[in-house]
């Protein structure tokens, strides 16, 4: 998904005139972004952008509003001043924006919460900017909170022996308490253990 894909899909959305006007207002005055960003979801709706898309009109509209902001600090501020849906919209938009590493503190913020939606959203494609320690903590937190590991972008590429050790420790605690690990975590642990115990192909 790119910003141009979102723009193209938006042609069919009934709220497009509202969005066009909002984008023009933000272009003319970046200070106008706050209220427009807050209102976008009720103006544009929560219907999927296209058949099968994970993007709703409201969230896509919010991403396009963010794309009008040249200064990353403004995006950071909109996240901090947002409700849960606005914060989720910022996290979803991060990989589409030319923001460099400036969004990394937002991932740390989301990973500190106890809201499974925010934790999951922090482990999408933009999590490539997270260092390994923070990323591993995020993955184990998913297991801990019952978030399916399918939300984690490039899980198998980044999973390493340290993550395997952390998951093994969690599995030991769970076993001691007579409680189960989620199936997807056991499967990951299994893949990591097999990968380490068999000779790697050159």
């Amino acid at each position: 998904m790119t910003l141009d894909d979102l723009r193209a899909a938006f042609r069919a959305v009934p709220g497009k005139p509202w969005l066009d006007d909002a984008l023009a207002r933000v272009r003319a005055d970046p200070d106008a972004a706050g209220p427009l960003f807050a209102r976008a979801e009720r103006k544009l709706g929560r219907a999927p952008l296209a058949d099968g898309s994970a993007w709703t009109a409201g969230r896509a509209g919010r991403a396009l509003l963010l794309a009008e902001l040249a200064e990353p600090e403004r995006i950071v501020t909109l996240y901090h001043q947002g409700d849960a849906a606005e914060r989720l919209a910022v996290l979803a938009a991060l990989p589409l924006l030319a923001i460099g590493d400036a969004g990394v503190p937002l991932l740390h913020d989301a990973l500190r919460t106890n809201d499974t939606r925010l934790v999951a959203a922090a482990l999408g494609p933009y999590a490539a900017h997270l260092d390994a320690a923070a990323w591993r903590q995020g993955v184990v937190k998913c297991v801990f909170m019952g978030i399916p590991l399918s939300v984690v972008h490039r899980l198998d590429d980044r999973a390493d022996t340290q993550l395997a050790a952390m998951l093994t420790a969690l599995a030991t605690e769970r076993a001691a308490a007579g409680r189960r690990m989620p199936q997807d975590a056991l499967a990951l642990l299994n893949r990591l253990t097999v990968a380490n115990s068999s000779p790697k192909q050159a």
């Binding site: 979801e41 409700d83 849960a84 106890n114 969690l170």
Partner: protein
């Protein structure tokens, strides 16, 4: 029996309360911003509180299948502390949020000039942001406070049908009925109103523009007294439809005037696509 509690401070309540409320039929709540018992000393404390009312608390409620919306305001008690005046400058940003369905609780505590000013300013914000207003009436000198409240509401230019005047009793109900504002009643274990007295009020005044809430908070209060009032109404011979009007359709109509009430079903554990959640960890 489906119940919409139009005034309850869930921030102060436990997960056991959420569970019992859901089991009793409570499917939606509105949490007004108010005092936390311990006075706050700066606007930042309010920003964190407001963020919680539009972020964490709706998420927590959803775990139990309960829809949570908020009303935000600088409450009358803390309006008297000059260190908290900056909250009025924070409010416009928050009044644009989807989860905010009214300005409140505003009104009077001790009827001071600072309360006059905050009350009028926030009624003006309700008009500007096209939101209803939830108005607290004072516990001391209530009848005089209610009369003065209605005068300020009338002066503000907000439509009476977009204002709920809360914590009424036998002495103050008629004043508010005649004003055209909605009549709110808080059912408490000992103070305010009780279920049997609420039944008598509805016998005398009917079901129109009546809102019944538990106003449960950090004090001696009970989040199930809406349920108890519904049962008392049925026992007194009111129909299931009467009870549904008072305990569900009336609050939906009042807060629905915001255009922001979202009552689409919440499934416990369905707070992000295709997953269950928050089993409590290890």
């Amino acid at each position: 029996m489906r119940i919409f509690d139009p005034h309850i401070h869930m921030t102060s309540r436990t997960t056991d309360d959420y569970r019992a409320m859901a089991a009793g039929g409570v499917q939606a709540v509105v949490e007004p911003a108010f005092w936390l018992g311990q006075p706050r000393t700066n606007p930042g404390s309010f920003a964190d509180y407001f963020d919680s009312l539009i972020g964490w608390e709706p998420y927590r409620a959803a775990q139990f299948g309960i829809r949570h919306h908020a009303t935000l305001a600088l409450n009358p008690k803390e309006a008297n502390d000059p260190r908290c005046r900056g909250v009025l400058d924070l409010l416009p940003r928050y009044l644009d949020k989807d989860g905010v369905v009214a300005v409140g609780e505003i009104g009077y505590d001790a009827m001071t000039p600072a309360e006059d000013e905050a009350f009028a300013a926030q009624l003006a914000l309700a008009v500007e942001y096209e939101l209803p207003a939830l108005v607290h009436t004072p516990h001391r000198d209530k009848a005089a406070g209610t009369r003065r409240t209605l005068d300020v509401v009338a002066e503000s230019g907000i439509e009476p049908g977009r204002v709920a005047v809360d914590h009424l009793n036998e002495v103050t109900v008629a004043l508010v009925r005649d004003s055209g504002c909605w009549m709110g009643f808080s059912i408490y274990p000992e103070t305010k109103m009780s279920p049997p007295r609420m039944v008598e009020i509805i016998k005398a005044y009917g079901t129109e523009r009546i809102l019944v809430n538990s106003a449960a908070d950090w004090g001696h209060s009970d989040p199930l007294l809406t349920v108890a009032t519904g049962r008392a109404l049925l026992a007194a011979g009111f129909t299931a439809d009467d009870v549904d009007r008072v305990l569900w359709r009336n609050p939906v109509e009042f807060y629905g005037q915001s255009g922001r009430l979202d009552l689409s079903a919440t499934t416990p554990g369905d707070s992000f696509a295709g997953s269950s959640l928050a089993r409590g960890g290890s």
